[in-house]
């Protein structure tokens, strides 16, 4: 008996709805001077913000990375960022929601002394280097 091929996405109903965007945020493990930061706190802050704005988010520990700080002579900082991601419906991805997300990321960038905060939305990396005062 020959079994027919199948589409797992159809069986598991796992395909993303049309218009869904993937937002990925990298929560750093250390500041631009190489000092450890309270990563758990900032993971919780980002999760809370994404959950409030987009109904849900997941933190995925631990990637490894490296960051060259040209403002400090090109020193390489080894990173172990936590990846936080959220699937966002098209109608939820508004400029107001992103502005609210920026407030959290800006606070993280300033208080955790970051050279850059990285956000990926639908395969494009957005590097945030300017942080607003509260």
């Amino acid at each position: 008996m020959v079994e027919q091929s199948c589409d797992p996405q159809t069986i598991f109903h796992s395909a993303l709805p049309v218009g869904t965007s993937l937002i990925v945020i990298f929560v750093p493990s250390q500041d631009r001077d190489g000092q450890a930061i309270d990563q758990d706190y900032w993971v919780d802050e980002v999760l809370t913000t994404l959950g409030r704005l987009f109904r849900g988010a997941t933190a995925y520990p631990r990637g490894r990375g490296v960051w060259r700080d040209d403002a400090k002579g090109g020193v390489l900082l080894k990173e172990e960022p936590v990846i936080v991601f959220s699937y966002v419906s098209g109608e939820s991805l508004t400029t107001a929601a992103l502005a609210e997300l920026y407030r959290t990321l800006s606070r993280m960038g300033r208080q955790a002394n970051q050279g850059e905060i990285g956000v990926v939305i639908d395969g494009k990396y957005y590097g945030i280097t300017e942080y607003v005062e509260e």
């Binding site: 218009g19 965007s21 993937l22 990925v24 990298f26 995925y60 990637g63 490894r64 990375g65 490296v66 960051w67 060259r68 700080d69 040209d70 390489l76 990173e79 960022p81 990846i83 991601f85 098209g90 991805l93 508004t94 400029t95 107001a96 992103l98 502005a99 997300l101 920026y102 407030r103 990321l105 800006s106 050279g115 850059e116 990285g118 956000v119 990926v120 939305i121 395969g123 494009k124 990396y125 957005y126 590097g127 945030i128 280097t129 300017e130 942080y131 607003v132 005062e133 509260e134």
Partner: protein, 102 residues
């Protein structure tokens, strides 16, 4: 759906970089995405968008503090937050537009 430029402005991003990761879903996809981001940060951090430049300028401390205060006030009005640097750039651009029209 928002455009890339609308997202860049809302996030106040200084640069936007397309990543060559086709399907960053699931644990392996996210690891691949993290690796692509880490590699890019290692090689070309801080590059401005191709249609903009970033240049350091000297300002008196008091001037910068005024800009920060104005930016903070503007951010309290319910509009998207703006940084002191963005406000300075906007003022300069507006001045140049006005100067060109007179």
């Amino acid at each position: 759906m928002l455009t890339e430029e609308e997202i860049r402005q809302a996030l106040h991003a200084s640069r936007v970089v397309p990543l060559a990761v086709a399907n960053p879903h699931g644990p392996l996809g996210l690891e691949q995405l993290a690796a692509a981001v880490a590699a890019h940060r290692e090689h070309t951090p801080g590059d401005p968008p191709t249609d903009r430049v970033r240049r350091p300028i000297d300002l008196p401390v008091q001037t910068w503090e005024k800009l920060q205060a104005l930016a903070a006030a503007a951010s309290e009005t319910g509009t998207p937050p703006i940084s002191a640097g963005e406000l300075a750039a906007a003022i300069i651009e507006q001045y140049l537009v006005d100067a060109a029209s007179t």
